[in-house]
């Protein structure tokens, strides 16, 4: 295909604009990485753009050596794993159960579920209920309220209804009950869908700071993002340097005067962002599919 002169110029302009867009997305991460790998005091003087000027690992040493941060990591990992698998199981079970068109009361149950998408009690009655159930200030406040995702259930339901009925019928003729049908036919066929919904659920858990900020006050239950949220407005280092391990690390390196709040903050952000950056390329093909199935109206 031969392009006209005007089209060639247009191509160049498009490439430049899109490359600029990519740069605006990627550069902030490189910039934060450079600051986190740089001696804090020298970074504050300026001049760090892409590459650290005074390379040091002290920021990461402090961040990874801090018990509060390590604990927040454990909480985040635990809730992401339990919340994602639990959520997928509950959501898949409901979707599969409701995929039987002959189920008595099916449309009533669907209506009961749909109503919750249209109207809710709001934050305060929700909090009062969490408090009444004794979930406030426990780990389970991260898990139970989000176990059943109505949105994901409808996406899943739509997907299951797209499975050829002949497959399910022949399994039933061979004597398979619903449980066997689910495990041996539906789950293997739904793997891409489960991967996409699992990814969204996992990212949701990993990124959630709200529950940790308002439903929990015990420091040892706070997830990474909530820790970051508290640190965001912090004016001094006491939030991160409170623990003994850090004091030792500081004494060893005796670089206290060179550590700034900003360089520590950037190290914490990088540590929270790197897992997503690592997983992202492998899951990309699934989530595009997930969004598209989810957008098709039921």
């Amino acid at each position: 295909m031969k392009l006209s002169r005007g089209e060639t110029i247009a191509q160049y302009i498009i490439v430049v604009v899109l490359a600029g867009m990519c740069l605006s997305v990627l550069y902030p991460f490189l910039y934060m990485l450079a600051i986190s790998l740089n001696d804090g005091a020298s970074a504050a003087k300026g001049g760090v753009y892409l590459w650290p000027k005074n390379f040091t690992l002290i920021n990461y040493e402090i961040v990874l050596g801090n018990e509060i941060i390590r604990q927040s990591y454990l909480i985040t990992i635990a809730r992401t794993v339990i919340g994602t698998f639990g959520g997928l199981i509950v959501t898949l079970l409901v979707a599969f159960g409701l995929s039987y068109r002959g189920l008595p009361l099916r449309s009533t149950i669907l209506g009961y579920i749909l109503l919750t998408m249209l109207f809710n009690g709001g934050l305060v009655p929700f909090y009062i209920q969490l408090n009444n159930l004794g979930l406030v200030n426990t780990f389970w406040v991260y898990i139970f309220p989000g176990l059943f995702s109505v949105w994901n259930m409808f996406v899943m339901l739509k997907f299951i209804q797209g499975i050829p009925e002949a497959l399910i019928e022949s399994a039933e003729l061979d004597g398979a009950g619903p449980v066997r049908t689910l495990v041996q036919i539906v789950i293997p066929l739904s793997q891409p869908m489960l991967a996409a919904l699992g990814l969204f659920t996992a990212v949701g858990h990993w990124n959630d700071w709200f529950a940790g900020a308002f439903f929990v006050t015990r420091q040892n239950l706070i997830p990474v993002q909530t820790f970051l949220q508290q640190l965001l407005a912090a004016q001094d280092l006491s939030a991160v340097l409170g623990s003994n391990t850090n004091q030792e690390a500081l004494a060893r390196s005796s670089q206290m005067q060179n550590i700034t709040l900003m360089s520590i903050k950037m190290a914490v952000v990088m540590v929270s962002a790197i897992p997503i950056l690592c997983v992202y390329p492998f899951l990309q093909k699934y989530f595009v599919k997930g969004v598209l199935v989810g957008s098709v109206k039921g």
């Binding site: 899109l18 409901v94 189920l103 919750t116 109207f119 809710n120 709001g122 009655p125 909090y127 009062i128």
Partner: protein, 297 residues
């Protein structure tokens, strides 16, 4: 009758946990809305606290509440004006890329920010805009200007909110449009070329009409969100210096309800905004039936 239910016993068993979870976390909180009309304190029972009628609705006379409503609408309308066309433009640009490798790269990169929390976005803003050593103020300084405290000023708060939401979500929102573009029949472009239509004419007469149904669905779906400005985005950026323009309905509810314990009043605010968004959703559905021939449900 009983036999029919028995036949589906396994299915009911599978549905049960979901139904119970909705009861616990959606329906009981719906019944809890009565807190809006009661004098409720945490630790007592909702049912035993005394009725106060509309006593909790005095916030309607609070001048601060009016500011909060204005802020909410201001930010959500601005976000809509910039945020709605941006992904359409980006999708049209991406679609014109001829090299498949570059195209895939651009798509992957543009989706990426969607996967980071607003907290991380707030840190990115902070790292660029901070007074001591932030890149933007360094550049302003080198150009001979006075440093600007972007995150602590009322003028810069809204532009920062708009910019950061464009940065985070524009790429992600192109997914639907790009998918719609791929369903357009390539023969249309061929015959347009034969008739001598240039690229711009093709975009105007084929691509845009081709994605128009998607545009109208996205438009309709975004109407209900006009009343809610994501707490997620605002709260991390809010501080005492910019609170005058940053305070929105969600932050107002959290501050008065969860933090200061005015449960009745905060529930009343929440009830009012839920009702408005319910009205928006239902009328949106009517609108969609008129335009698309079918509703969202």
């Amino acid at each position: 009758m009983y036999a029919k239910f028995y036949k589906y016993r396994w299915q009911y068993l599978m549905i049960l946990p979901g139904v119970l979870l909705l009861l616990l976390f959606s329906y009981i909180p719906m019944a809890g809305i009565q807190v809006a009309f009661r004098d409720f304190q945490l630790g007592t029972s909702i049912w035993n606290s005394s009725w106060v009628g509309l006593g909790n609705f005095t916030f309607l006379q609070d001048p601060q509440f009016l500011t909060v409503v204005q802020n909410t609408l201001y930010i959500s309308v601005l976000k809509f004006i910039f945020g709605f066309p941006a992904p359409i433009l980006l999708a049209l640009l991406i679609n014109e890329v001829t090299r498949p490798v570059f195209k895939r790269f651009v798509q992957s990169v543009s989706y990426l920010p969607h996967f980071f929390s607003w907290i991380v976005v707030a840190y990115i803003l902070q790292s660029f805009l901070t007074l001591d050593g932030g890149l933007v103020n360094q550049i302003i300084g080198k150009a001979g200007g006075e440093p600007v405290f972007f995150l602590g000023s009322t003028e810069w708060f809204r532009p920062m909110v708009i910019l950061s939401s464009l940065w985070k979500e524009t790429g992600w929102n192109t997914i639907l449009y790009l998918a719609a573009i791929t369903t357009i029949d390539p023969q249309l472009y061929e015959s347009a070329k034969v008739e001598g239509a240039g690229k711009l004419a093709q975009i105007r007469h084929i691509t845009i009409p081709g994605i128009l149904p998607t545009i109208s669905i996205v438009l309709i779906l975004s109407i209900p969100s006009l009343i809610t400005v994501g707490m997620d985005q605002i709260y991390p950026l809010m501080n005492s210096a910019n609170q005058g323009v940053a305070d929105v309905l969600d932050t107002y509810i959290i501050r008065n309800g969860l933090q200061q314990g005015y449960f009745g009043m905060a529930t009343a605010v929440g009830l009012l905004s839920s009702l408005i968004s319910l009205i928006l959703v239902v009328s949106t559905n009517q609108l969609s039936r008129k335009i698309n021939g079918e509703g969202l449900w």
